[in-house]
């Protein structure tokens, strides 16, 4: 267990008042990272819209993600909870559409999710540091700390965050016990499958996209120059959502 001054003083109090052996409190094991986990310096995703745009009805990535993370299916734009979903091009890239943009692209729906920004606005505004950025670039939420103030939702320029206005459990068809649900009153969003990376697996959405032989979603480490995402970005011109805001998204789109 963590050996802090606070814990020691608590234990000392317990010994004086309750007669609990002091050594008992200072025992306990150590923590370490899982050996088989994937490690990266800068996790990123590349979405090849050219492959995705012809399958406007495809929801493979969304279904896999939402089922795997116990995301409730609630109707209505105010209440709905989304981790990854499809958005019309003109909404996803409002500043990168013009009169001569290819019609197929304008009509198409492309997958959008949390961009795991290099300079995340949500992290800056969170009053409890419930949202934080890991060293490997993943912007993660600690649900234990979220107080539901929704400041992060106001700050996120991509609408990537959803708020649990009601208890989500009745709206989850099959609850997977391997992943927690959320409770009423917290914000949630995509976590780049941090729990799967720790077990040496890639994100669910990418896996689902590969399974249907589309391969539009590619996930990898931009810190490694030979990684699949780094190679893709070298070969193709990719755009990011709302680049003018300076958030530096780590989700890239090849259009």
């Amino acid at each position: 267990m963590e050996k802090s001054r606070r814990r020691f003083l608590c234990a000392l109090g317990g010994t004086v008042i309750g007669g609990v052996p002091l050594a008992n409190a200072l025992a306990g094991g150590e923590y370490k990272a899982a050996g088989r986990g994937l490690a990266g310096d800068k996790w990123a995703m590349v979405i090849d819209v050219r492959k995705c745009i012809d399958r406007n009805d495809c929801k493979a990535c969304q279904d896999a993600c939402h089922q795997g993370h116990n995301v409730p299916k609630i109707e209505g734009v105010k209440d709905e909870i989304k981790w990854i979903w499809r958005e019309p091009y003109k909404n996803a890239f409002p500043d990168q559409a013009h009169d001569y943009t290819e019609q197929k692209l304008l009509d198409g729906q492309l997958p959008v999710l949390c961009n795991h920004c290099e300079h995340p606005a949500c992290v800056r505004v969170c009053p409890t540091q419930a949202t934080f950025k890991r060293d490997d670039g993943i912007v993660l939420m600690d649900m234990h700390r979220c107080i539901g103030c929704r400041y992060c939702m106001a700050a996120c320029p991509y609408g990537a965050r959803s708020f649990n206005f009601k208890d989500p459990r009745p709206f989850i068809a099959n609850i997977r016990k391997e992943f927690p649900t959320r409770s009423m009153g917290v914000v949630e969003k995509c976590n780049f499958c941090a729990e799967r990376l720790a077990k040496g697996k890639g994100p669910l959405c990418v896996e689902a996209c590969e399974k249907i032989n589309c391969g539009a979603l590619v996930f990898g480490d931009l810190g490694d120059k030979s990684s699949n995402v780094a190679q893709l970005l070298r070969k193709h011109n990719a755009i990011r959502r709302k680049p003018g805001l300076g958030t530096a998204p780590q989700v890239f789109y090849i259009v």
Partner: protein, 128 residues
């Protein structure tokens, strides 16, 4: 003392009412009641019983910070064995009946931990 009888009677009634919880529990036998959580028949817990008894809540508190914030997901126990730090997948893999294990002490002590608002109780889909 004026009205001594009334004052003393009043004081006795007052004391009797104030100490009601004490003598009532003593008389009804509830005072000697200790909760009896059912532990799995076989196997040892990851740490000693005394340790878990006193510190499981601090341990789980530390676990959640270690897993979520530091991405450390493996617990190396004092005996050197490694365990995944997970309430549902590790603890409740053996202690699979929340009502007969967790709730017995928690109800007795009047504590309501909110672990199961989110973490799933095995075999009890959607229940808390």
């Amino acid at each position: 003392m004026y009205d001594g009888g009334k004052i003393i009677t009043g004081l006795i009634i007052f004391l009797a009412l104030v100490t009601f919880p004490l003598w009532y529990t003593a008389a009804s036998g509830d005072a000697s009641y200790t909760p009896d959580p059912e532990t799995p028949a076989q196997g040892n817990c990851i740490e000693s019983k005394e340790y878990m008894n006193a510190w499981h809540m601090d341990m789980l508190d530390d676990w959640r910070d270690a897993v979520v914030r530091d991405a450390n997901r493996v617990y190396v126990a004092t005996d050197g064995k490694e365990h995944e730090m997970s309430l549902t997948m590790t603890c409740m893999n053996c202690h699979d009946d929340k009502e007969k294990f967790c709730d017995r002490c928690h109800t007795y002590l009047g504590v309501t931990p909110y672990c199961w608002d989110c973490h799933v109780v095995p075999n009890q889909q959607g229940r808390r």
